[in-house]
Each structure stands twice: as C-alpha cells, then as structure tokens.
C-alpha cells in the first residue's frame, strides 16, 4: 500500500524512532482496558483539531478576552471536573472514530487509520479539563499538543498533520501558507441529525480541491469569459488546491473497503458541491479529478444556486468552501462548515475590492 502522507518519509526508519514506537505499542497492548492503539503517524491520516473546534468554549473564550490569560487558566482549572460540551468538529471526530473501528475490523494490523490529535495553544493546566472532557465522551484521542501560548504552526509538521481545523482564521491561513490543508470551523445554527455510520465530507471545487485559477477569471473577466475558458481548456487539468491531498487520503482509505467488498457499505462518502454548471464548466472538473486518479462519490453542480438547501439534504459532517458567502448560507441551514482561506475569493469577501456582484459562476 502506498503511503498516505504526501511527503514520503525515508523508507528506513530511524532506530530510536522504532524504539519509541515499539515502547508505545508495548504500553498500549498491555493496558487492561483495551484502548485502541494510536497508529504510526507516518502511515496515518493525521487530523489536528483545536480545543475550540472539538469543544464548545465560547464562555471560556469570553473570559480570556475580557479578563486575561491568568483568570482564564484559573477558571478552567476550577472547573476542570466539568466536561465541556461538544464543538463544531465533534461530529466529524466521532465519524472518524467510526471509520477507524471499521478499518480495524477489516485490517487488524494496519497503521493506515485516522490519527486524531488535539492541537491547541492552550496552557498545559487547561489540559486537565480537556483530557477529562475527552474521557467523558470516550473519544479516541491519545496524542496532544498543548503549546502554552505558542503558535501551533511549527508543531503541525512535527505531528505530520494532514488536515488542521481551528476556529482561528489567522492560524488556518498560516497553515495553508505552509502547505498544510486547513480550514476555519463554524458552529452551525441549527442541529440536523448526522449519520453515525458513515463519514460524509463535502468539498467545494475551485480554490478548495482545485486552485483558484478559474475563479480569478470569473472575478476579473466575468462569467461568459469563464465559460469559454473552461470549455476551451476542458482537457487541461486544473492545478491542485489546498484540500486535494485530504481528498486523496480519504480515497485511499475508501479503496481499503472496496478491496474487501465493502463498497456498498463504505463508511466514507465524499461530495463535490460546486457552483459550476454541469453543462458549461463541469466537465473540466471531472476530467481533472480523473487525471489525478481521484474518485468523488457524488458531484453536484449547482449552476449558481445556493448551496445551503442541498447541503441540508447531504448532511455532511464537514463542508469545505473558500467563500464566506457559501459558508454563511450553509451554516444557516444547519451544515457544519469550514472556511478555507485560500485564493482570490478572500480579497473579495473582505471587501477590498469595492465592486462585488454576487458570486456566480
């Protein structure tokens, strides 16, 4: 099986690394309560979630902002036996755990699993409450990085992160600049029930899976030019976007289920939800995916229609889009959304360019 990590690690592992791995393996295997052993990071799909995406810390955040870090830490310590309530990434994490148990059943010795890491710049003393909360929900998170105020960016690479989710858009932007897939999570405004047997991930196309090259054309030259351009270059693959590697990693895990005849019962399903229209600009997208050797389970071309209602039907555990306009729409109708701050869409959303017609392709 080829490696899931985009940067290939040296085939010959360092002996001290192997020793560390063996010691941890022995430790987990010896535990009386069977805690699933975390996978070897080199082979796993590592998802780093921040504390505020995993748990709802809105009230605590307010204390931090209004009263300062000392009071905030003291508050957390005082309440450390009270579990926090779930945050926006919580359903996603539960869905990842479910995929892992299915994978472990089919491939008991494989390290190709999801590796969930709590990546926060919280102070270590807040860690006790976070650990207690993780215990409370029985989440399989054994790896943490609580940096005590330092930016987590340097640590993302140290933990071989494939995807980073945070509520802090600055950190997310920094991560994307470091070529780590990342997105800013938003709490949804209403609760719709999500699948507990299948991980469902929805992606926007341009500036998420693909580069923003086509979006630039729309913004600068308008829709008609865009349509012409896309038809003309139908057979030229688009360049890749920040979340392409994550889709690729999902695809590799999906194929493990297909290999065991579990295609109909696969616990991972991927969706493309794009404002492109099938007739005029859709072909290029599908051909690009094909040229990358990637499959997407469902491709939905909206031809400019709002994404919110469709996402309501899809019910993904997470929906990635580069435009806040779509994120807002999705959120309002109960979809957990994650903003990918990449590409030309950012300049327009922040109103730097005054003239802004509604984003239509």
């Amino acid at each position: 099986m080829s490696e899931i990590k985009p940067e290939g690690r040296a085939a010959v592992a360092d002996s001290s690394e192997e020793q560390d791995w063996a010691a941890a393996k022995a430790f987990f295997d010896s535990l009386k309560t069977k805690v699933p052993r975390p996978p070897k990071p080199q082979f796993a799909v590592t998802i780093a979630v921040s504390s505020r995406t995993l748990f709802n810390m809105v009230a605590e955040r307010k204390i931090y902002e209004e009263e300062g870090v000392e009071k905030y830490v003291a508050f957390q310590v005082e309440h450390e036996d009270e579990p926090l309530s779930p945050g926006p990434a919580f359903p996603f994490v539960k869905a990842l755990m479910n995929v892992n148990s299915r994978l472990r059943q089919l491939y008991p010795d494989s390290e190709e699993l999801f590796d969930i890491v709590l990546m926060t710049n919280n102070h270590a003393q807040v860690g006790v409450r976070l650990i207690n909360s993780i215990n409370h929900y029985g989440l399989t998170i054994e790896r943490f990085c609580m940096t005590g105020g330092q930016s987590p960016i340097g640590y993302l690479k140290a933990y071989m992160t494939n995807l980073y989710l945070s509520k802090d858009s600055e950190k997310v932007t920094d991560a994307i600049e470091e070529e780590i897939a990342a997105a800013t999570m938003f709490m949804r405004q209403s609760e719709t029930e999500l699948s507990d047997t299948q991980l469902r991930v929805a992606f926007d196309g341009d500036a998420v899976l693909f580069s923003d090259e086509s979006e630039i054309i729309v913004k600068q030259h308008g829709l008609d030019t865009f349509f012409e351009h896309e038809k003309k270059f139908e057979n030229k693959p688009l360049a890749q976007g920040p979340l392409k590697c994550f889709l690729e990693a999902l695809g590799k895990l999906q194929r493990k289920f297909y290999a065991k005849n579990e295609r109909m019962n696969c616990p991972i399903r991927t969706f493309l939800v794009t404002a492109r229209s099938a007739a005029s600009s859709g072909a290029r997208v599908l051909k690009t995916l094909r040229s990358w050797g990637l499959e997407i389970d469902e491709a939905l071309f909206l031809a400019g229609a709002p994404k919110g209602p469709l996402l309501q039907k899809i019910k993904p555990h997470i929906f990635f889009d580069d435009q806040m306009f779509h994120i807002e729409g999705a959120k309002e109708l109960g979809t957990i959304s994650a903003h990918v701050p990449y590409g030309i869409g950012q300049k327009y959303n922040r109103g730097k360019l005054i003239e802004e017609p509604a984003e239509k392709k």
């Binding site: 690394e17 010691a23 609580m146």
Partner: protein, 263 residues
Amino acid sequence: MVSVVLNTDVKQEDAGNAVVVAVTSRALFESGLEDDDAGVWKLSLAFPLLQAVQKVNDCLLEKNPAESLLLDVLLITTDSQHQKLSSLLISSTKHHGLGVGKFCFASEETFVDSLLENNVQLFLSTNKDEVQTASQKGVPSAMLEARKKDSSVSCQREDLRVWLDEDLISLRDSASEPGSRHSPQRFLAKLGEIRQRFSVSDSPLWISLVILHGSRENCGKRLKTLRSLGVSVDDVYCLAGAPSEPLLSVLQPHFRFNCCFMD
C-alpha cells in the same frame, strides 16, 4: 583528590535555598582549542544553558532583590585529565565572565560523591554514561541538548527551556537505588517554585512535559502529579509513540529530564 574552589568574580549565593546545578567542564569548554589571544578555552554546548540560567537569576532578582531561591552553577570535572587543568578552567571561566559560582575538580571515580557532597540538585552532562551513573546514585541528571540555529518557535532564545519527559524505555533500562527517588521530586519542586515566581505568560523559565510513550490517561496523571509537587507545566505534548525528533527541533530545550514517575 577532590577540591572545591569558589569563583571570586561571582557573588556567592545563600547555600540554604539555592538550587545547585552542576555542569561538566567537557560540556562547557571545547578542550584543546585555545583562544590564541588569551590562552583560554573556547565555549561549547553548555554556554547557552549558562546564559539562560543567568537570565532566570536576573529576572528573579529583578522581582525581589533579596531573593535566595536562585540557580547556583557549579562547574565540575569528571575525568582525571581535566581534573589536572584546574587553573586553565578557572581562567577560561573568568575570561568569559561566566556565572559559575564554584569549581569542583573530580575524576571519573570521585565525581558522583562530589555531586552528593555539594548538594547538587541537577547534574548536566553531554556524556550519557555519566548521566546514568549519577542518576542511579540519586542525583537528578540530564543530558544537555545541542541547540539548533533555526527554530520555528518564536519565544526568546535566552529563556531556560526545560523538557520533562516520561520515557518508558529509560525507566525500564535504569534501575535506581532505593531511597533515591526523592531527589528528582525535590528538584522538580524547586523548579516549580521558581516557575511560580513568574506569571503564566511572562516567564524566563519554560517547562514542557512530553509523554513519549504513554496514553492520555498517563498524561492526565502526570500533569496532576507535577501539580501536586508544585510544578505548573507550561506546555504538554503527548506523542504516544510518534517520533520525538521533530518536536525536539521545535521546542529546543536546554536539557531533557526523565521524570522517572513511579506509580
């Protein structure tokens, strides 16, 4: 023959409350390479540590000029070759203006006894065997880390960065003598006390806890154990067997101390 010499260039600290940190001469000086002009040795790996220790002391004294809980550095020779070069060691130290309070000239056979006699609470060396020997005899010991030039961590380079870890491999390999467990705890308690002199976000001493092999449960327990010793750790990393080298490069600790947590 062991002898202790005071460094007259440095103000001697109150023996009762000071935390004595011993550093080996081989870690501090590049022997054999003489600075042509002054005829003294060049500085080696342990120099950043001494600078960081100095910063901690300066900050402590700034907060309280009468502070007695300071870090007191003892330079110790651990082999007979260096033991004979006492005057060169003293002159090199003075030349570089290093904050070394005392010198102790010992050999391979006698250095551990010297450490114990001088109430050393932390022994730092670049020699793994020395660290292991001292540790087994009950002197809290740690390997000094080489510091890399480029680091993505944005904190001030002069802060004293301490890495405490739970290393199940070392725990298994080294059997320490009974009754020697108290010393690491005492050292940690003192370290914690120093840390408490500063606020959460503004401290010249930075303590990281790294759980190399254990689980989340271990992590929670260690945080609480350290807290009960009065050590408020700044950041914590639970690796569960993931490679520690990348983390080491990011954190850049001055030394790594195996906490030998015994359940």
